[in-house]
């Protein structure tokens, strides 16, 4: 195995004029140096997950035009990681430096545009409904969702193995879409798809970080040129600055409300800083518009969003995919409206949330049995919202130093691409001659128990123990073509696909048993991994015996295939409640209590769902109070966990979770709806609301670090 170490730009913007690799090549153990002047000029788009996307191919494996500190210029391959790292440090790069920009203000002012181009690289406008004619109260708000790091504990890693004799390339990587990588790499390297095999490896967390491809194309290129297997492992600093980040989103919103708190109109003006490459940004701002209709009734909205490109780390997929940013500006505006109209924030939301039977105003699809109203009511009661408000008032009056407050946040998401893109899944099932079952479906477990959930779904359908079911993750050589595990489609779409395949297998088992054992088909049913008959309660033919008889007597296997192409995307929502205490002397905020209530339909594995929600709350507290990748004036970004503070075990309360399981989906497996992304959507807004409630403030630029809190208190004091 050869190891790769990347050579990265040390400047934020400019041209590479020369690369001197002689010293590196002279080092023992070095197998090759690859860079912008000796490799293909072909380009790819890291965000491509299906052949039909219309995307610019904008990224080379190694570029001579660098757009941020960390852009890939070259790579050293060597027999050990140590040797590759030492050699990479010996490579000398000559640059022609260009002016650069790192923040919203400089970039929008067009001071230092990318290579002389406009910094605005995308724009999206939309309007829905009609403006109100009644007298309304205007409410303005400004929010900024910070650029944050996924902080998967496993950094990015990839192994590529090229077999020159078969012209076959095999990629092993923890990722969210094996077929997306195959599309990208095969097109990039001009290989037919069947000669590129991508295998999903066990993944130490993703949250979207591993759904865009930048390690795989590079490792593939080097493996192909070397003709031997190579391994590429990112350092933490590379994972923080050279993979993907959540791009900062700044939103100015003017809401119009009727005196009773009903939202009449929203005017949204927002900017997304995509960083050095556009990637998914144009889809992202369009998707954010759609998120406006997943939780609330919005009679009228005017939405205008721009994407800017700056010389900073590349933005990309991150849990919630535009819904958390949308929820932040929506919830902040609702809180500001509640303050202006002197209404309780929970009551204001109850006035505006979607109700069962409502429709997604953008897609036209039914929201089905959406239960956000129930989530708010249940949460208000469990969290003792009214009592806390009273207790905090008394506490704040008595405390010269600490301020306590409560906040509520709501949010919605989807369960599938549909109807923005079409969506479907396919699976194959096979009964072994010992009665165990194997399923082939393209799933990617991010580390939240997807494989277990799928096995549970199949086990329920086949009425057999889940330990007797094998289901491997995506492998383009063996599992059906699929779009990948994102858009919260895994449980809803692929779970139902697995359910259908398991039901089809059960049906085949019953058919064959009827045929071979002379039993009336309509009386047969499956129970306890055996075929039983209503006509003879004592008869039981184990699945094993059916499989064996079919092989010996019918000369075939017991297999089944099934697909699922959904036509729905029901409302899936959550309401979060946070109680915080702000230290007005230090600016430090503690989260005292937290409750997350989720309208999940049927939870397949409730314990794992709760664990995932608690993780989303940890991440949301981080985005609200601590986490921010800061790009300095020199273009260098935070690159160490010692400077990027996550919420740790002692910092968090015992996060409470309540699952509402009566609002089942029509199409999902057993009525299930999604949870992985929607759980993150309301979290930062709830904490943001709690801090504002504590201080009586209107802050919206996250995170509320001690510095920001103290600055606010100082300014407030000087007025």
């Amino acid at each position: 195995m050869a190891h790769i170490c990347l050579v990265r730009s040390t400047i934020p913007h400019g041209y590479v004029r020369a690369i001197h690799a002689e010293k590196a090549l002279a080092l023992p153990g070095v197998l090759g140096v690859f860079h912008c002047f000796n490799t293909s000029p072909r380009k790819f788009n890291r965000y491509r997950s299906r052949f039909s996307q219309e995307l610019p191919e904008e990224e080379r494996a190694f570029t001579d035009y660098v757009r941020f500190v960390g852009d890939r210029i070259g790579a050293v391959a060597a027999v050990s990681r140590d040797a590759a790292e030492k050699a990479a440090r010996l490579i000398e790069v000559e640059y022609e430096e260009l002016p650069y920009s790192v923040g919203f203000d400089d970039t929008l002012a067009g001071k230092n545009c990318l290579n002389g181009q406009s910094p605005v690289v995308g724009e999206f406008s939309a309007e829905h409904g009609t403006p109100p004619d009644a007298d309304c109260v205007d409410v303005e708000s400004l929010t900024q969702f910070p650029p944050i790091h996924h902080a998967t504990m496993e950094p990015h890693v990839c192994v590529a193995d090229y077999d020159p004799y078969q012209d076959q390339l095999t990629i092993y990587s923890p990722n969210q879409a094996v077929h997306g990588i195959r599309t990208t790499i095969a097109d990039y390297l001009e290989m037919p798809y069947h000669r590129v095999r991508v295998v999903k490896a066990t993944m130490g967390g993703s949250f979207g970080a591993k759904q865009e491809w930048f390690t795989e194309p590079v490792a593939a290129l080097v493996a192909k040129q070397l003709g031997r297997p190579v391994k590429l492992v990112y350092t933490r600093a590379e994972a923080m600055t050279c993979s993907v980040v959540r791009g900062a989103v700044r939103a100015s919103v003017r809401g119009k409300y009727l005196p009773d708190g009903a939202l009449a109109s929203l005017d949204v003006e927002l900017v997304l800083d995509a960083g050095a490459y556009v990637g998914n940004a144009n889809d992202y701002i369009a998707s954010m518009y759609g998120k406006l209709f997943r939780c609330y009734r919005v009679p009228h909205v005017r939405y205008h969003a721009r994407v800017i490109s700056s010389n900073t780390p590349v933005s990309g997929a991150f849990r919630g995919w535009s819904a958390p940013e949308e929820a932040l500006f929506m919830e902040r505006n609702l809180d500001a409206a509640a303050a202006k109209l002197a209404l309780d924030p929970v009551k204001l939301r109850l006035r505006n949330v979607l109700l069962p039977g409502d429709t997604d105003q953008k897609s036209g699809l039914p929201m089905e049995d959406i239960r956000i109203r129930d989530a708010l009511l249940r949460g208000r009661e469990l969290f003792a919202w009214d009592e806390l408000l009273r207790a905090d008032k008394a506490f704040n009056a008595a405390s010269p130093r600490y301020r306590r407050g409560v906040g509520v946040g709501c949010g919605g998401h989807g369960n599938t691409y549909y109807p923005r893109h079409n969506d479907f899944g396919e699976a194959r099932a096979m009964l072994n001659e010992d009665g165990t079952v194997q399923l082939a479906v393209t799933v990617h477990d991010h580390g939240c128990g997807t494989v277990t959930a799928m096995r549970m779904i199949a086990a329920e359908a086949l009425d057999m123990p889940d330990r007797d079911i094998r289901l491997d993750e995506g492998d383009t050589a063996f599992t059906p073509i699929d779009f990948g595990c994102f858009a919260s489609r895994t449980t809803f779409v692929l779970g139902k696909t697995v359910y259908n395949a398991a039901c089809a297998l059960r049906c085949t088992i019953l058919d064959r048993a009827s045929e071979l054992f002379g039993l009336p088909r309509e009386a047969l049913y499956a129970e306890g991994a055996a075929v039983r008959s209503r006509l003879d309660p004592d008869a039981a033919i184990p699945y094993r015996e059916v499989a064996r008889a079919v092989m010996l007597r019918l000369r075939r296997n017991v297999t089944a295939e099934a697909g699922f192409a959904n036509e729905t995307n029901p409302g899936v929502t959550g309401a979060h409640f946070a109680h915080v205490e702000v230290d007005t002397w230090t600016g430090f905020t503690r989260v005292l209590d937290y409750l997350a209530v989720h309208d999940i339909g049927q939870a397949i594995n409730p314990g794992m769902c709760a664990a995932q929600i608690q993780g989303a709350v940890q991440m949301g507290c981080g985005a609200a109070l601590r986490e921010e990748l800061v790009v300095g004036k020199d273009g260098r970004c935070t690159s160490s966990l010692s400077k990027y503070h996550l919420f740790l075990a002692p910092d968090l309360p015992n996060i409470r979770v309540e699952l509402l399981m009566d609002g089942r989906s029509a199409e999902g497996p057993y009525g299930a709806k999604s949870i992985g992304e929607v759980s993150f959507v309301p979290a930062a807004p709830a904490v943001c609301g709690a801090v504002n409630n504590a201080l009586g403030s209107e802050l919206g630029v996250l995170p509320f670090t001690p510095d920001r809190i103290l600055n606010y208190l100082t300014e407030e004091g000087s007025h």
Binding site: H150, A151, T152, M153, E154, P155, T202, M203, G204, G205, F207, T235, R236, H446, G447, C448, G449, G607, M608, A610, A611, Q612, I613, Q614, G615, V617, Q618, M619, S640, L641, S642, L646, L648, A649, P650, L652, N654, I655
Partner: protein
């Protein structure tokens, strides 16, 4: 340098550079891949192992520090082939999601329980403060440590 130390109660002798990280010795020389590298700078705790019963970062511990020391890795907790009580508690309480932090988390908890068989919740959270888990809100992890402590005390009685 020639290095003699103990890993999971077995004597190990090998030839290494003095500045080789314990993390690399374990993963590359001894094939003990339960120890993970999440940051390489002692911030995330994924590489936590025990050295003479104390939790240390294997990414910040060098070969020259190891002579005669006893290192315990996650593999050492189930040397008999059966999971120990802490490992079982993590499984039972669903305290594992992606699993990357889990081995370090369990060893930090192990070090706590060896010293304090009856820790309160604040002590548990403090003992785990050097181990980052991005998947969870630490609730199930804390519950697992509480459960293991309870079961260990019952076994001890």
């Amino acid at each position: 340098m020639k290095l003699s130390f103990f890993v999971n109660d077995r004597p190990v002798e090998l030839e290494t550079e003095p500045d080789r990280r314990l993390l690399d010795l374990l993963r590359e020389e001894l094939n003990l891949t339960g120890v993970k590298e999440g940051c390489g700078e002692g911030e995330c705790g994924a590489c936590t192992v025990l050295m003479d019963g104390e939790p240390v970062h294997a990414c910040l511990t060098l070969a020259i520090q190891l002579g005669g020391r006893h290192i315990t890795t996650i593999e050492g907790l189930s040397a008999s082939g059966e999971l120990d009580i802490l490992q079982r508690a993590f499984v039972e309480e669903l305290a594992i999601q992606c699993g990357f932090c889990t081995t370090g988390m369990i060893l930090s908890a192990k070090a706590l329980l060896m010293k304090h068989p009856d820790p309160d919740e604040a002590m548990i959270r403090e003992a785990l403060s050097g181990n980052i888990c991005r998947c969870s809100g630490y609730v199930q992890i804390v519950n697992a440590v509480k459960r293991a402590a309870r079961e260990l005390r019952e076994v001890g009685r």
